[in-house]
């Protein structure tokens, strides 16, 4: 039966599982069906009624699994009570599993190559009712990773337990699904001012989705994303900072909130290559030699772009005939996502300007150059910190400068030379005037005496 319903199509599209594989799957199906039917006689009655009761007769049995061709097992046990009380309960089993024909089940189940493929396939079922959420998910970093072939990037069922979905579960700090994959970051969050407030029952304090979005999940470090996210709640932040912070708008544009509000974090300068017209990050420039190793591989693992190479890169991108010019916009941010979540109360944030505005400040010891990767996910290339203080930076990094902190070295030499000359010349000339004045006086005195 399996061979007939499931594998006929696969035989055409994927020869690797035809023939003996199909026969194996058929045998597995028969074994599963026999086991299910045998166990069904001894199973407890399901909580659901109607057609679902028929399904749950077998699928409420503990330990029911289906062996898959890749060696994994697909759990088939459905928590009957949880499903009955879930939001999906009224839909019934066939509300989502539309491809399962009960009369021929269980033998006539579609071929499932592996659990991942099954999860991806069930996304289509979710889209039937949750079209808007699905549309937003398609714009997310998670969906981009899925499209990029990432096998652990979350799909609907990764975050929402489909057979026990209940309102509010994904929004509570104890059950928020993000921590399943982002455990370390969640731990950092729980120690932050946001996490502590949320744990303390302050529901206005943000949980993961408040900043990152629930379905259209974004990487907040994407250019202005995080600042805007913070300002969604901290609406008077600009005004509050303007009482003491010079050039407040500029600071908000080029300094990520976390750069000051996570005082112990390692900071770095992110130089983003922007299209001057569209104001969007430019994609990784294929064919631009600076982005490619000798063998065409990515430069990510190499020591970093030096000032002249970065300058040459801009020249390459802005060569004559290229209509859209590329510029660099810089941004000071924390180095890791983990640190970005360790936000402290405002009173403990950095407010000493010298932290960043002195020479050799830690904030400017790490530099990356960022381009937009597939689906807009930033791709970062290491850069030498000298790109910030080299004379080349005047032409290449026009959009990022921190007084004192990223000052251009050769200008320091000119300033010192001017100061020394301004003080030294009067001292030298004045000394000579005094000396010759005494000499003249002596001569006049001698003449008078003579």
């Amino acid at each position: 039966m399996l061979q007939k319903t499931g594998c006929m199509e696969s035989d055409v599209t994927n020869p690797s599982i035809c023939g003996c594989m199909a026969r194996r799957l058929g045998a597995i199906g028969v074994v599963v069906a026999a086991v299910v039917l045998a166990l069904a006689w001894t199973a407890k009655p399901a909580a659901a009624a109607g057609p679902d009761a028929q399904c749950l007769t077998c699928h409420s049995m503990p330990g029911l699994t289906m062996p898959l061709p890749d060696g994994e097992s697909l759990p088939l046990t459905i928590p009957a009570d949880a499903f009955d009380h879930s939001i999906h309960g009224p839909l019934g089993c066939t509300g989502c599993h539309t491809d399962i024909g009960l009369p021929a089940h269980p033998a006539a189940v579609p071929v499932i190559k592996n659990k991942r493929e099954f999860s991806l396939k069930m996304v289509e079922a979710c889209q039937t009712c949750h079209a808007q959420q699905s549309k937003r998910w398609q714009t997310s970093v998670h969906a981009a990773l899925v499209r990029d072939g990432n096998v652990v990037a979350p799909v609907c069922t990764s975050c929402h337990s489909p057979h026990a979905v209940r309102k509010g579960v994904a929004e509570a700090i104890d059950t928020v699904p993000c921590k399943t994959c982002h455990a370390a970051i969640f731990t950092a969050y729980t120690g932050s001012v946001h996490g502590m407030l949320r744990s303390g029952g302050v529901t206005q304090a943000p949980l993961c989705f408040n900043c990152h979005g629930a379905h259209a999940v974004r990487v907040p470090s994407e250019v202005q994303g995080l600042k805007d996210t913070c300002l969604n709640c901290h609406k008077n932040a600009v005004q509050a900072h303007s009482t003491w912070l010079p050039n407040v708008d500029l600071h908000f544009n080029v300094v990520a909130c976390t750069a000051c509000h996570v005082p112990n974090a390692h900071r770095r300068v992110d130089l983003v290559l922007f299209d001057a017209t569209t104001q969007k990050a430019v994609p990784a420039a294929e064919g631009v030699p600076q982005f490619q190793g000798p063998d065409g591989s990515s430069m990510t693992a190499r020591p970093g772009l030096d000032p002249q190479t970065l300058f040459n890169l801009l020249q390459s991108l802005n060569r004559p005939g290229v209509p859209d010019k590329t510029v660099i916009q810089g941004r000071l941010e924390v180095s890791t996502a983990l640190e970005a979540h360790q936000i402290v109360p405002a009173a403990a944030a950095i407010s000493d300007c010298a932290t960043c505005h002195r020479a050799g400040a830690n904030a400017f010891q790490s530099v990356v150059v960022t381009v937009a990767g597939p689906a807009g996910i930033p791709i970062r290339y290491g850069a030498n910190k000298d790109v910030l203080s080299s004379a080349f930076s005047i032409a290449s990094i026009g959009g990022f400068y921190a007084i004192g902190g990223t000052r251009i070295t050769i200008l320091d030499a000119i300033v010192m030379l001017a100061l020394l000359a301004g003080i030294g010349f009067p001292i030298a000339h004045g000394s000579m005037r005094i000396f010759f004045s005494h000499l003249l006086n002596h001569r006049q005195h001698d003449r008078r005496k003579g």
Binding site: W244, P246, N247, D249, L250, N253, V327, D352, C353, A354, H357, R358, A359, G360, S393, I394, A395, I397, G398, G399, F400, Y401, I403, G404, R407, I408, L411, I414, V415, L417, A418, L419, A421, G422, I423, F425, P426, H429, G430, M432, R433, F436, S437, L440
Partner: protein, 214 residues
């Protein structure tokens, strides 16, 4: 010695305001650029003082400009349109500063109402007052509000270009301020020019008064 009134009150007010303002800007500029090495006042305070001093200097510049535009004393700033004579007098003045002053020779320049500056002074002041100071004020205002003037900053190539111009002119002022103060001691007595810029009267030799009262 004859006392000649060559520095009217508005000019003297402008001069000393400019002197105080530019010195403040230079000192706070050094503090801002070299915070960590120079820590006289906190960075934030230095920035605030620098901003206020900058706006005072800009306002002061316009007062000076308006005064000279509406006064016949503007002749002191007008360039000599006789290049040969200008070059000859400039060389004489340079020779005096580099040699004559040590030998006790008289200053070849004679101060008067409309002939206030020697050729080297005139060239320096024209450059400082009509080029560098306005340019420094312009770049300073852009740096004061980079977001508000983002469009203009972008036209000139970005904040680093603006800052580099600002710092290069700053270097010129760092040289000029002590140098100018020193040259003020080269009157017939070390404090004669300072006194003149305070009360308005230059003391000149009787036979030096060439165009007084023109």
């Amino acid at each position: 010695m004859q006392r000649v009134y060559v520095h009217p009150l508005p000019v003297r007010i402008w001069h000393w305001t400019n002197a105080a303002g530019c010195s403040t800007l230079a000192l706070t500029g050094l503090q801002i650029r070299y915070i960590g090495t120079i820590n006289v006042v906190p960075f934030r305070i230095a920035v605030q003082i620098h901003n206020w001093a900058g706006f005072i200097i800009i306002a002061n510049f316009f007062l000076w400009f308006l005064f000279y535009l509406t006064s016949d004393r503007i002749r002191a700033y007008l360039p000599d349109l006789h290049p040969v004579r200008y070059f000859r007098e400039a060389m004489q003045q340079a020779l005096y500063y580099s040699y004559g002053v040590f030998r006790g020779l008289p200053n070849p320049h004679h101060v008067s109402k409309y002939h206030l500056f020697n050729p080297l002074q005139a060239m320096t002041y024209q450059l400082m007052m009509l080029v560098l100071l306005p340019l420094q004020g312009f770049t300073g205002v852009l740096l004061w509000n980079l977001t508000g003037f983002a469009g203009i900053v972008a036209v000139f190539g970005g904040v680093r270009v603006i800052d580099t111009v600002h710092v290069l002119i700053f270097a010129v002022f760092l040289f000029y301020i002590p140098f100018h103060a020193y040259l003020g001691t080269m009157g017939h007595t070390p404090l004669a020019d300072y006194k003149a810029m305070w009360d308005g009267y230059e003391e000149v030799e009787e036979d030096e008064r060439v165009d007084v009262g023109e």
